[in-house]
């Protein structure tokens, strides 16, 4: 038999291989047409792309028709129909990366790897480049991902080092971490292992600490912990004694580890703290940074391990659930949630009322979904929440399931957040092993299951919101689930003492900022206050011209309006959009036209294309702003742009189209001069 051989970056396979892979996957997933995304994802993982023969074979073996499979496989941008290089370099198209020069970085990679203008693969088939909506690591922008590694804070000069470093890293295996338990432990050393921390070298720091500890046999627990949100200070190393005394080191490098360990555990113990002194000021700043927040939902960030359910339970986790699961009248749980004032941030609706309406809806089956699939630029706080608080989020789900009398919850996690997905899956299996998930939990009669859906990572709005695979669903953000257990902490089962929690807002602070991070503040804190308290030094404050808030559907707010409180209702009343609550700071030197073009470009690429106004309207919007940028725009076209925005807003059928012009409208409102500079003389 003659085989048609296809070369794809060193992966060589013939038709037989394709057929074999498809058969295996179809056997595993079944032939139902709703399995198509999983099957396609599986094929791509195995073969690197989706060969036409594979699609034909899937259509032949399953209930999926050739038409359906063609439509679905070309709709989601992460499916590839052409082979790529062995390693894919993903460029973040998020706003902060854009601000910090991601385009130049991409060009530098192209140059270094000799990738031609029209191509996406290097001549040796080793590397391909690809744009992704957002890697969710805005704090270390500009960033790229190669394989499972994220590289941040890049400049064009770093490109060679990154490529060669990656090639080296895949050859050597990481040193295994010895987890041997010690009896007389004197304390613990905490190091953050969120995606951003890891990219800034916290894994290497951890390795050095473990090596030192083992060589000197020091009785201390080395504990990887979740994110503090203080991304501007990472990697952070906390040395905490059993008595609770804490010494904190920030921006630790692997080279620092030896002297830090020496001064805490070695011969120089209790002598002058050289390292600490050198960084003492910043370290104080970090304490201030944390102290100035209202940390209710994120209270355990940087303290607890994100991979140990036992520790979570030992620190009071699951107490609320254990109490509530034996509650006879579960409607009281809803009352207390409503009383507490806890709101879903994206919709500003009371969580209690949302659950009530789901519970009393009599049509079909119900589920709750933790929705973090929106790869909205700057929604990195969702990733951070999932990576850091998996146990708390799941406890929140359990309580909501109890309240709504629902037996099923779903995680919909973006493919862009592999670490978050791993942590959640790990947490679920620990819950199941410990008997807090599954059939008849704690012999209460309450059964609950959680599944993780591998979501294609792209930004979607609109019709999917209230229905999912035929189920009536309630979609909430990780932040909301994470806030639920706090409502029931310190309470008893008496229905009257639900405490009125101050509603907090978790805000990502990125862009032109010295100390990027995620902070939790009371709802209603003004933009200016957040920048003053957490924005850090000079890069931002003196030169700041505006902020952009709300991700891709968000808007520009000039510095004259920085007194505006971050409050979903106030924003809505001013026709503004707070969205995922991310603040991107913009300098005087940054061009608002460039940024607006960036948002228009996103809208254009994300439009599903069904309705003419959104499909062609977002493209026209992009074209006119491009002309302004090139100083080649007629006056009539600027007027056309303004009316086009109105038409998109009033005529689009879903949220994406309606919100697509938000950035443009606010830019034209506050920075029209910059647009008029782009008119033809």
């Amino acid at each position: 038999m003659t085989q048609k051989m296809e070369s794809s970056g060193g992966i060589v396979h013939g038709n037989d291989k394709v057929i074999e892979v498809v058969n295996e996957l179809v056997e595993f997933y079944g032939t139902a047409s709703d399995k198509v995304v999983q099957i396609l994802t599986g094929i791509q993982n195995r073969l690197n792309y989706l060969p036409d023969e594979a699609l034909i074979e899937v259509a032949r073996l399953t209930d999926i028709t050739p038409g359906q499979i063609s439509e679905i496989s070309t709709f989601y941008p992460q499916f590839r129909h052409k082979p790529t290089g062995r390693h894919i370099i993903q460029f973040c198209a998020g706003t902060t990366c854009f601000l910090k020069g991601s385009r130049e970085i991409k060009e530098a990679f192209r140059d270094y790897l000799k990738i031609e203008e029209s191509k996406s693969c290097s001549p040796d088939n080793l590397f391909s480049i690809e744009d992704v909506e957002c890697l969710g690591v805005c704090a270390i922008a500009p960033a790229v991902r190669i394989g499972n590694e994220i590289y941040g804070n890049l400049s064009t000069a770093d490109v060679g080092r990154v490529v060669e470093g990656f090639l080296e890293s895949i050859e050597k295996k990481p040193r295994p971490v010895n987890k041997s338990a010690l009896d007389n432990i004197t304390g613990e050393i905490r190091v953050g292992i969120g995606s951003c921390c890891v990219a800034k070298g916290s894994k290497e720091v951890l390795t050095e600490i473990v090596a030192y500890k083992e060589s000197k046999n020091i009785p201390v627990l080395v504990k990887p912990v979740g994110c503090t949100g203080a991304c501007g200070y990472t990697p952070i190393m906390d040395i905490v004694s059993n008595e609770g005394d804490r010494k904190r080191y920030v921006a630790v490098t692997p080279q620092d580890v030896e002297s830090i360990m020496e001064e805490n555990f070695g011969d120089k113990k209790n002598m002058v703290n050289t390292v600490d002194d050198a960084r003492g000021i910043i370290s104080k700043k970090l304490d201030d940074y944390l102290a100035k927040q209202t940390r209710i939902t994120t209270d355990t960030g940087g303290i607890l391990s994100p991979v140990s359910l036992n520790e979570y339970i030992s620190k009071g986790g699951l107490e609320p659930f254990k109490r509530l699961v034996n509650e006879k009248n579960r409607s009281l749980i809803i009352d207390r949630l409503t009383l507490s004032g806890l709101k879903e941030k994206s919709s500003s609706k009371l969580v209690g009322e949302e659950i009530w309406s789901l519970k009393t809806d009599e049509n079909g089956s119900h589920a709750i979904i933790c929705y973090s699939e929106e790869n909205d630029t700057g929604s990195f706080k969702d990733r951070m929440m999932l990576e850091t608080f998996p146990f708390k989020i799941i406890e929140g789900m359990l309580i909501m399931g109890l309240a709504a009398d629902i037996g099923r919850a779903i995680f919909h996690i973006s493919d862009m957040y592999p670490l978050a997905k791993r942590r959640i899956k790990n947490a679920i299996s620990q819950y199941i092993k410990a008997g807090y998930l599954g059939y008849n939990i704690l012999d209460s009669g309450f059964s609950f299951e959680i599944i993780v859906i591998e979501g294609p990572g792209d930004f979607m709005c609109g019709e999917r919101e209230s229905e999912f695979a035929g189920m009536r669903v309630l979609m909430l953000s990780p932040e909301t689930f994470c806030g639920v257990p706090s409502v029931f902490e310190n309470g008893n089962s008496d229905g009257n003492n639900a405490r009125k929690t101050p509603n907090t807002l978790i805000v990502g602070l990125t862009g032109r900022v010295d100390t990027p991070g995620v902070v939790e503040v009371a709802e209603g804190t003004s933009i200016g206050v957040i920048i003053d308290r957490f924005g850090g030094g000079t890069e931002s404050k003196e030169n700041i011209k505006a902020v952009h808030i709300g991700g891709l559907a968000g808007c520009f707010i000039p510095k004259e309006l920085f007194d505006m409180p971050l409050d979903y209702d106030i924003f809505r009343n001013n026709s503004l959009f707070l969205g995922p609550g991310n603040i991107e700071m913009i300098n005087e030197a940054d061009s608002i036209v460039d940024l607006t073009l960036h948002f228009a470009d996103f809208a254009r690429r994300q439009s599903c294309g069904k309705c003419a106004i959104c499909r062609a309207g977002t493209k026209r919007m992009y074209d006119i702003i491009t002309k302004i940028r090139e100083k080649n725009c007629a006056k009539e076209e600027l007027a056309e742009l303004e009316l086009l925005c109105v038409h998109l807003k009033k005529g689009s059928l879903c949220g994406l189209g309606k919100n697509a012009p938000n950035a443009v409208v606010s830019a034209l409102k506050y920075f029209k001069k910059e647009f008029e500079d782009g008119l033809l003389a």
């Binding site: 034909i56 050739p66 439509e71 294309g609 106004i613 499909r615 062609a616 074209d623 005529g651």
Partner: protein, 351 residues
């Protein structure tokens, strides 16, 4: 029963009806493109948008179910402005070449492509009849004309222009022998020019080779035309530069009604290919497709026979045969449906 106001007229109707159907029953005309009786609504073209007076938003009449107390306006300045916007946007992604260069450049607007088609199919009577209806009792102007039709004939960029003048002169010489009556179906003189879009655009080399697909089964060329046979052969080399839907195109009609001209700027995604399925008598010109999806909704491939589907998203969205399947495998049953419902000239019968 519910009450709804359209243009301040009150209608009392059963619940569950669309605004479009209520308006149509009341004699209120709303333009549509992606709507077809009996096919599921998708509200993709949005040209039927009307204004909800309560919140000022635009909503597609075809897919909006009337609610009690609704107040709708279908003809205010805002609605017309919005529809103009939609049509302009659709035209930016549409290759609006309604008429062939030969006809546009003819001082008398003779329908030359149609005449060629009659001749190539051996329809002598129809050809003569068209000629009579265009010239009437007067003698043919072609002998004195500078033959702008041939100067502009796109075939000239490949080898030589179609021998249009000689064909017409030959036919004219045969008129005396016959008693042919004028053909009422053809559009005389310059009336077509009142319609939207009749301009000449130059084709690229790649486009020319796509257009050449139209005359697949022809080889011989004749400059001198002495009989019907040579006229037929020569006519077969005509590349069909006019749109097959020139006289029944929804888009052309609505654009003309709204007074919208073809925008000079087009999106850069207009594909150049023509797909021809001679078995099923179907031609697909993707550049004329407005992505309304009527064809995709009209039939699927659950019956095991190839059907058109959507590919890609956003501005890259296209209607196409499925991946790995040849356009020529589309069955003639489906081809008939496609050519009947397509609101533009994108999907038409070859003959």
């Amino acid at each position: 029963m519910i009450k709804i106001k359209i243009n301040n007229r009150t209608f009392e109707v059963e619940p569950g009806r669309t605004i479009l159907s209520i308006a149509e029953d009341g004699g209120i005309k709303i333009p549509t493109l992606c709507h077809y009786p009996g096919i599921e609504e998708d509200a993709s073209c949005l040209i039927c948008s009307v204004r909800n007076k309560r919140d000022g938003t635009f909503t597609p009449a075809c897919a909006t179910i009337a609610e009690d107390g609704m107040e709708i306006d279908t003809k205010s300045k805002e609605v017309i402005e919005y529809r103009k916007r939609i049509i302009r946007l659709i035209l930016m992604e549409h290759r609006a070449e309604c008429e062939a260069p030969c006809r546009v450049s003819c001082p008398f607007g003779h329908d030359i492509p149609l005449l060629n088609r009659y001749l190539s199919e051996g329809k002598i009577k129809e050809a003569l009849s068209l000629l009579v209806s265009e010239t009437g009792d007067k003698p043919l102007h072609c002998p004195e004309c500078e033959a702008f039709c041939e100067t502009n004939c796109r075939r000239g960029s490949i080898d030589s222009p179609i021998s249009i003048r000689n064909i017409r002169m030959f036919l004219s010489s045969r008129l005396e022998e016959t008693s042919i009556k004028p053909d009422d179906q053809s559009r005389p003189d310059n009336e077509y020019k009142k319609l939207f879009s009749s301009k000449i655009t130059a084709l690229t080399a790649a486009e020319l080779s796509e257009w050449l697909k139209e005359c697949e089964d022809t080889t011989e060329r004749y400059r001198e035309i002495g009989d019907y046979l040579t006229a037929g052969y020569e006519a077969k080399n005509c590349m069909h530069c006019d749109c097959r839907a020139a006289n029944d195109c929804g888009l052309r009609e609505i654009a003309a009604q709204l007074g919208v001209t073809d925008p000079p700027e087009k999106f850069d995604s207009l594909p150049i290919e023509k797909k021809i399925n001679r078995n099923a008598n179907l031609v697909f010109e993707r550049a004329k497709c407005i992505k309304c999806g009527l064809c995709v909704r009209a039939c699927n491939d659950l019956d095991g026979r190839v059907a058109l589907t959507y590919l890609n998203r956003g501005l890259d969205l296209i209607v196409s045969e499925p991946i790995g399947v040849d356009f020529r495998y589309i069955h003639s049953e489906k081809a008939d449906i496609y050519s009947n419902i397509c609101p533009t000239g994108a999907l038409r019968k070859i003959k």
